[in-house]
Amino acid sequence: MSNISSTSVLSPSVPSNQGFGLYLVVGCIVAVLGFALPFMGLPKNLLSLLTSASISAILATSVGFLVRQAGLSSFGHAAFFGGAAYAVALLVNYTSLPSEVVILATPLLIMVLSGIISLILLRTNGIAFSMLSLAMAQAIYELVMKWRDLANGEDGLRIRFAREIFGVKLSFFQKADTMFLTTWTALVVMVVIVVLVSRSNFGTLTIAIKNNEERARFLGYRTLWPRIVVLMLSAFIAAVGGTLFSMYNGYVTPSLLHWTLSGEALIIAIIGGTRSVWAPAVGAFVFVILRDVAGNYTTHWQSIVGLVLIAVVLALPNGLGGALTSFANRLGGRKNG
């Protein structure tokens, strides 16, 4: 890792403590507004879109968190997201475990597995890590595609959930207006977790290790396990997203494991911005909504994404979130810190 101050998209600086009060207030308002949304009589399509967006936001948060706290760009998070979705499907369909147990246990299971894989993954850094994460995730994709007996290959699996989960009818989780409450709650919780972690001493330590692993060791710190913890937390959050996806759709397909899903999540995180832990989630909402809107006008959404990614990487290293923050700081007369 370089000692030179990097101005790239992947090296956020820690925001000053002054702004935190403002963030807290704004965050609370946004959270409350979110809870109110299903009751505002919005059209079904929009709510459905927002539900999908909040699931994407959870995945984007997990990817962005890894970038921010460990400096690692993962091209393999589909393994955690899709892996969780498939784990739910397989456990529900092929074991006699109650659906509730499966839903609660899957993110934890994925988290534990990620801890084991991290011992391999974290032997690398930078681009080697990106490529390794890509390869490992893609191996899982290929496995699922080819092993038809296990997971029905390309056709995917329908999940035979129980009719009632957590004392609530299954339809609660599969209708947009009610599911939104669940996914939004999950998103808020995940964001709160990453905010707390990033502002903690542990968060400071991980940024230090990212900046200069050698000096951290010379200060007396172990530098492997904090990175493992960051990866596990990131995997956990992605798995929560995957679990919610499986509940909402009731169906899993291998595309959930394909590296393009990981790539998309990484793009969203970068466009949203990795300087702040909440920015990737914002990026996800913008992305999903824009994709839907753009779909009415053009079939070239992919090109647009590519071009926006290039533009953001080159011109807005801190993403949209960073641009927003700078703007807000300037409005408030604060120095950009």
């Binding site: 101005t7 998209v9 191996a139 080819k146 090109s303 071009l307 990487v313």
Partner: protein, 281 residues
């Protein structure tokens, strides 16, 4: 058995040609060019389209020229301006370019697969070990051999080749040797992208064209490059050989896991030697 090995060589050969382009670019610019798969694909499509007017070989020439030009543009417009920034930045930009390329191809030629006819001269089969074997496939192996030999000679004996090898080890010092590094970069990157196009064109009669062909070759060429050791030419050669055989034997004997094997091999190599098979710089 011989047939299996030959088929493995065909696949390995195609893979080598595209992967060595990646190695060239990585050695020079320390950038993993995500757009490389897209360039392979674009080369194949251009070869096909031009081939409708100029025949297979004419199409190949057009594709090579255009892909080389594109490479020069890429180096001039992307790699060079970004060379002082974090490498991940450039990687992400190439990823964005890949997305655009896929969409452009989709836009011009549609999503359906297109099959490409073999050049007439090589349409027949030849008896090998008692079975008929397509002549065209032998051609592919021949082209790959030419590329290997040509590159090795070029790297060993030309000034440009020396520069590329030196750059892979230490870019800064090489720059100070008075070599016109920037102009050399343009041609080397152009060569790298042209090779991607070459592989795409000669692969196209064997594997139909589709807008997703870029992504799949991208992953496999990454695997070759990583296993061979990022930046190592000889490593890429052996890795492509191995992957070619594994890919083929896998399809025949272990169809359920054949596509996983190269990936798992990459994982194993990275565990044992995080720098791949290459000698440590």
């Amino acid at each position: 058995m011989l047939i299996q090995i030959l088929n493995g060589l065909v696949y390995g050969g195609m893979l080598y040609i595209v992967a060595v382009g990646l190695v060239l670019i990585f050695g020079l610019r320390q950038v993993v060019n995500f757009a490389h798969g897209g360039l392979y694909m674009l080369g194949a499509y251009i070869g096909f389209a031009a081939g409708l007017y100029f025949g297979f070989w004419g199409g190949l020439v057009v594709a090579l020229v255009l892909m080389a030009l594109l490479g020069v543009l890429l180096d001039y417009g992307v790699f060079r301006p970004l060379q002082d920034k974090d490498h991940m930045t450039t990687v992400l930009v190439t990823f964005g370019i890949l997305l655009v390329l896929e969409d452009v191809v989709h836009m011009i030629w549609g999503a359906d697969t297109i099959s490409v006819a073999m050049p007439e001269l090589f349409e027949g089969t030849i008896q090998i070990a008692g079975s008929p074997f397509p002549v065209y496939r032998l051609l592919v192996i021949a082209v790959a051999i030419i590329v290997v030999v040509g590159l090795t000679l070029w790297l060993r004996f030309s000034r440009a080749g020396l520069y590329v090898r030196a750059s892979s080890v230490d870019a800064l010092t090489t720059g100070m040797q008075g070599v016109d590094t920037e102009r050399l970069s343009l041609s080397v990157v152009g060569l790298g992208t042209a090779l991607a196009g070459l592989s795409g064109v000669i692969a196209s009669p064997l594997m139909a064209l589709s807008p997703s062909m870029g992504s799949s070759v991208l992953i496999e060429s990454f695997i070759v490059v990583v296993i061979g050791g990022l930046g190592s030419f000889s490593g890429a050669f052996f890795a492509a050989l191995v992957i070619g055989q594994v890919h083929n034997l896998g399809i025949v004997y272990l169809p359920n896991v054949s596509s996983m094997l190269p990936l798992l091999l990459m994982v194993v190599v990275l565990i044992l030697k995080p720098s791949g098979f290459a000698r440590q710089h």
